[in-house]
Amino acid sequence: MTDLPNDDTLTHSGLEARDGGRILLIACGALAHEILTLKRLNGWNHMDLTCLPAKLHLYPEKITEAVTESVEKNRLAYDHIFVVYADCGTGGQLQAKCAALGVEMVEGPHCYSFFEGNDSFAARGDDDMRAFFLTDFLVRQFDAFVWKPMGLDRHPELRDMIFGNYTTLIYQAQTDDPALVEKARACADRLGLTFEYRFTGYGDLEKSLEHQAAKH
């Protein structure tokens, strides 16, 4: 069984493919735990996983190039490649590049949408406009992905400039973990936002992977 990588490694370095298999999943490091869990639960042993550093999300303009490099590096070793990124702030560029490379990717604008279910997320429309989302990974890595990159550790006075238009922090939980709920609640307090807990499970991520697993 694949050892679960730690969050710091997933944030800064990602994860190398190592299991072999017919299908390679090229994913965001922020999804590694969820994908490895789904692999284990569903017995998808023909799927291998490699992750790019999750911190790429701080620089969405770099995601398309990084995914492209990973596809090109790995494509000869696998029958199929599936990109486990949504659009993720690339403004359609990742989708266009994947189409040009002949690989499929997860549907949706971002992981908050596919965890909730893309249809359901879209249906909420402007109701969630003022919500700041966290997933299990982002709750665990709140300081690395939110607090420090936004400079709030050094300049707490920036909080209202950055988050002043938000009203709520929605914690989209993939797992039932009371400790994470409390941590997410504390994150909301630190940002001055009201807290909402929404259990999503794996949403459309699981459906997408199921589809790939069955197809190949």
Binding site: P149, I162, Y166
Partner: protein, 234 residues
């Protein structure tokens, strides 16, 4: 008090040194120091427009360049913008009184469904610094609000901003409505925001995509110069 002897007394600096120091203070996001520097220059008889362009815009241009080059990041830019805002608050009423040159007028807002305004606010501030009159519609603007502002404000430029992949297509809704109403050619339409790119700007029928505030200012100036040339030729 051990570092007191190292403190720089702004009022003791000559103009050139003071402007240089204000560049540094803006870079470091020191709002109070910027406000003090602005007041000193005004007391020395500088025109508000000169203080704005030479001290504040000059300093903010360096900040913008270092942001583009990956030397500065969002928090530092926000602090610098906040410092510049402090200086602008002093200068704005004076600029109105002294009849500073007006390059053009812009209506700007973040599109419907989107509450992100950091980039838009930076553009507004830099446009004002460059001599544009800016009417800022804020966040979450439906097409009706843009149209109403265009009607009442009669700007030269419409600026739209979006940070989300899900909200950026709304810019096309606004542009298409302008086309339907036969008003598209009355305005220069500039668009910006993190997930946008030049291709998207072209595809939705904008006049230009601006990747940051400095580019927005240069692009706006360029379009205004073309407009004036066209009028002069006509």
């Amino acid at each position: 008090m051990s570092d007191q002897e190292d403190d720089i007394i702004l009022s003791e600096l000559d103009n050139e040194e003071l402007v240089q120091q204000m560049f540094d203070d803006l870079y470091d996001g020191l709002k109070e120091e910027i406000e003090e520097g602005v007041n000193i220059l005004l007391e020395r008889g500088w025109q508000p427009y000169q203080v704005l362009t030479e001290a504040l815009v000059g300093g903010m241009t360096i900040v913008g360049k270092d942001f583009r080059d990956g030397i500065l990041f969002v928090p530092e830019v926000l602090l610098a913008a906040n410092a510049m805002k402090g200086g602008m608050a002093i200068l704005k009423p004076l600029l109105a009184e002294t009849g500073a040159p007006r390059v053009g007028k812009m209506v700007i807002g973040t599109v419907k469904g989107d509450i992100h305004d950091i980039g838009k606010n930076l553009v507004s501030m830099m446009m004002e610094g460059a001599g544009f009159e800016v009417v800022d519609l804020g966040i979450n603007n439906p097409v009706e609000k843009y149209l109403e502002a265009l009607e009442t404000e009669a700007p030269d430029i419409l600026g739209m901003s979006a940070l989300l992949t899900t909200t950026m297509p709304y810019m096309k809704v606004v542009i298409d409505t302008l086309i339907e109403q036969g008003k598209r050619d009355d305005y220069v339409v500039l668009v910006g925001g993190a997930p946008l790119n030049e291709e998207f700007g072209k595809a939705i029928g904008a006049d230009a995509y601006c990747r940051d505030a400095a580019v927005a200012v240069e692009t706006a100036k360029d379009f205004m110069a073309r407009k004036h040339n066209k009028l002069a030729a006509g």
